[in-house]
């Protein structure tokens, strides 16, 4: 019976997919939804016997998923993965159903298969027991659409529930006090990754951030256990850094996998180089003390921006740990995974530079305060930034409340010469930029209905060789994507 149910579910999903495509629509979640209706346990069946990696957390999920996928592929694996944003039960199920054919083919050819699945933080708690991942990555926890999740502590509980429902090796960001705490009670299967404390400290002191009028709102200044203010010896950005609590002793754990970097060169530039390290049991102390056993690999950062230090090391760590878990330490050695990282290319909305005639645009999806902070900081550092086009919507998928833009430190960021603003909440965004000190006369703000015309204008205003940076939030990015497909005949990104 179960088997028949399963096949009916798969068949229904395929019909739904076909119907949606005939209507010219993206079919990334609805087929899975239909399949789950028919067979509620379908995802468990689809994942059974597979080697799965999951990626969850507030920021960097899509990029890390994408990096892991590319590394495995470059190392000779066949990979099934989900499309960006389709990271709830329905989306993951859809991706697994449509990966069946490829997996069968790979099996026949004797190729190794990995499933790389991005999962929403809230959904992870419920679906980890179905996916039964071998490796689970948690990227970070920042404020994100608070009107949906309530509080960060609650989000972390949901993730913890997911971790306890499976036996995965857990990869945690050592520099995030909210995330790293998840190792408690799961010590035997936790591995940390992060930035080298030495690098963080050195770069902090040598290249301190520009300070604004008022520091950005921080998410985790106080110890969650004993409510004492953390002491930081170094920070990377947001609340990420080397923290410790003077009262209860909670502190950053030394990461096995870490990044050594130097900000005397600009990570906004293409070709920025850094070192990825495996310190083994010595963690990032291995770097400081020159202990043997340290593996260090110099690589070019595949996607620019300092936040991609974290995504890069998370991705390489996940692949190496999977290799150890499934007994392919040769094919997925640290050296090979790190080398494979260099060939990763940016995904749409994640810093991909797109040529439009002799002009260039770059889209940076921004969904929450720290994401926007990182994007503005990136644009401020980009030598080719001539214009910036910001779009802000407040649909349910974006979060109805746009006040989070005020949590971001715009004041310390330099804006490019030309500023364009659109989206349903263009007034709010325009005002935010004006309040940061940008002269009103430099800003062209238009309602969402005119966002396509404004894009035309922004592109035509730009100089060849320079770049127009576009920062949409979620639903405005979807709109932008279809404008780019229709008006500028760019490839269909739904594929």
């Amino acid at each position: 019976m179960a088997s028949i149910r399963f096949h009916i579910a798969v068949f229904s999903a395929k019909c739904t997919h076909l119907a949606l495509r005939l209507m010219g629509r993206g079919a990334t979640t609805l087929p899975g939804k239909v399949a789950v209706k028919v067979d509620p346990k379908i995802l468990k069946k689809l994942c059974s016997g597979r080697d799965c990696v999951t990626i969850t957390g507030t920021n960097g999920k899509t990029t890390t998923t994408h990096m892991i996928t590319d590394i495995f592929r470059n190392c000779g694996y066949t990979v099934v993965t989900n499309v960006s944003g389709a990271n709830l039960l329905s989306g993951v199920t859809t991706s697994m159903i449509f990966g069946m054919k490829e997996m069968k083919k790979a099996e026949k050819e004797g190729k190794k298969i990995i499933c790389v699945l991005e999962t929403d933080e809230a959904a992870y708690g419920k679906i980890a027991c179905q996916i039964m991942p071998k490796v689970s990555v948690v990227t970070n926890l920042f404020r994100d659409q608070l009107d949906r999740f309530g509080e960060l502590a609650h989000t972390r509980e949901l993730i913890a529930k997911g971790l306890d429902s499976c036996e995965a090796d857990i990869l945690l960001n050592s520099d995030d006090s909210l995330v790293s705490e998840l190792y408690k009670g799961r010590e035997g299967r936790t591995v940390f990754y992060g930035l080298s404390e030495e690098s963080m400290h050195y770069n902090n002191v040598t290249y301190p951030d520009k300070s604004g009028v008022l520091p950005a709102s921080s998410d985790a200044e106080y110890c969650t256990g004993c409510k004492t203010k953390y002491t930081y010896t170094a920070r990377s950005f947001g609340h990420l850094g080397s923290f410790s609590c003077s009262k209860c002793g909670k502190k950053r754990q030394s990461p096995r996998f870490f990044v050594k970097y130097d900000l005397s060169k600009n990570p906004s530039d293409e070709g920025y180089e850094l070192s990825l390290c495996d310190g083994g049991a010595n963690g990032d102390k291995a770097s400081a003390e020159g202990v043997s056993g340290l593996i260090e690999k110099r690589v070019k950062l595949p996607i620019p921006g300092m936040h991609n230090f974290y995504n890069s090391i998370a991705a390489v760590s996940a692949c190496v740990c999977m290799g150890e878990k499934i007994g392919d330490t040769e094919g997925l050695s640290f050296d090979k995974c790190a080398a494979a990282l260099e060939h990763v290319e940016a995904a749409f909305g994640r810093m991909e530079k797109i040529s439009i005639g002799d002009k260039k645009i770059c889209v940076l999806l921004v969904k929450n305060p720290v994401g926007l902070d990182r994007a503005l900081s990136f644009v401020a550092g980009a030598s080719d930034a001539e214009g910036i086009y910001m779009l802000l919507n407040s649909n349910i998928a974006d979060g109805k409340d746009v006040s989070w833009i005020w949590d971001v430190d715009f004041e310390s960021k330099e804006f490019p010469e030309k500023v364009y603003v659109s989206g349903d909440r263009y007034g709010d965004m325009m005002l935010r930029i004006v309040y940061s000190g940008v002269d009103r006369s430099r800003i062209i703000a238009k309602p969402m209905e005119e966002c396509a015309e404004l894009l035309d204008q922004a592109i035509s205003d730009s100089t060849p060789g320079k770049c127009l940076y576009i920062l949409p939030n979620y639903t405005s990015m979807l709109a932008l994507r279809s404008i780019l497909v229709k008006r500028y005949h760019l490839k269909d990104f739904w594929k």
Partner: protein
């Protein structure tokens, strides 16, 4: 009056803990609309363990936080700083308190299970937590902001996000009438509270940026208190803010039906 010698000292209470939903924007607004008039704005963060002295400040801002963080500050706020804060309020110090900050000035906060959490008892209000959260864009009408009988000048735009229902006692006036949204408790049609120079609201985040006349009202109160009743706050354009307000209104009129 020469404003270059004027100074506005802003106390930002618990900025490292009470900083939810863009509360920071309110402080930026006070600074901006003071500095554009040539008034020097001095911002002082006052957090756990720091002294609070009324004489050091002209205006106090107290925002909202997540429950976990409000629990961290409760003891410091109620027991340590409490007496001095109450005294400052009685002496007419200007306060702007949002959401959690608003609730904490009251007598108590009753949780869903009936547990009463003692608050500062500085103003005669109390709050009862309920399951249904009010999350939406709001519009209020504040009589004290009406200029020359123009209705638009008295409108306050906001965004509410709260599960607490607040009820006012006889010595406290509501800040505004609700035109859209739930307001204090979803029942009596009023929003926020005023007691002496204390202004409280559930409207989060970009409350002052969207409401420059409210910003100016607070600045005027604070500067008159500092420099005397005959102090006059210089005129300042609200063009950018009005543009944002008009855009918001248009968006609301359009009806937000998209997914």
């Amino acid at each position: 009056m020469d404003n270059t010698e004027k100074e506005l000292r802003i106390c930002h209470m618990y900025p490292d803990l009470l900083n939810l939903y863009g509360d920071r924007g309110n402080v930026l607004s006070l600074i901006r609309r003071a500095e554009l008039r040539g008034i020097k704005a001095k911002l002082v963060p006052v957090s756990i363990g720091d002294d609070f002295n009324e004489n050091d400040f002209d205006i106090v801002f107290l925002g909202g936080g997540q429950d976990a963080e409000q629990n961290v500050i409760r003891k410091d706020f109620v027991e340590v700083k409490g007496p001095k804060v109450k005294e400052a309020i009685e002496n007419g110090m200007v306060f702007l308190c949002i959401c959690g900050g608003y609730q904490m000035l009251g007598k108590y906060y009753q949780e869903h299970d009936g547990t009463k959490i003692e608050c500062l008892n500085a103003i005669d209000i109390y709050t009862v937590g309920e399951d249904v959260r009010y999350i939406q864009d709001t519009i209020y009408e504040a009589e004290f902001l009406k200029e020359n009988g123009i209705a638009e000048s008295s409108l306050l735009y906001g965004f509410e996000n709260h599960s607490g229902r607040t009820y006012l006692g006889p010595t406290v006036k509501p800040m505004a009438k609700v035109i859209e949204g739930a307001g204090n408790n979803g029942k009596d049609g009023y929003e926020g509270a005023i007691y002496n120079n204390v202004y409280c609201t559930y409207s989060h985040g970009s409350f002052l940026p969207k409401n420059p006349r409210m910003t100016d009202h607070l600045l005027r109160l604070a500067l008159k208190r500092r420099y005397g009743e005959d102090y006059e706050l210089p005129e300042l354009s609200t063009e950018s803010e009005d543009f944002a307000r008009a855009a918001l209104l248009k968006y609301k009129e359009k009806g937000n039906t998209a997914p």
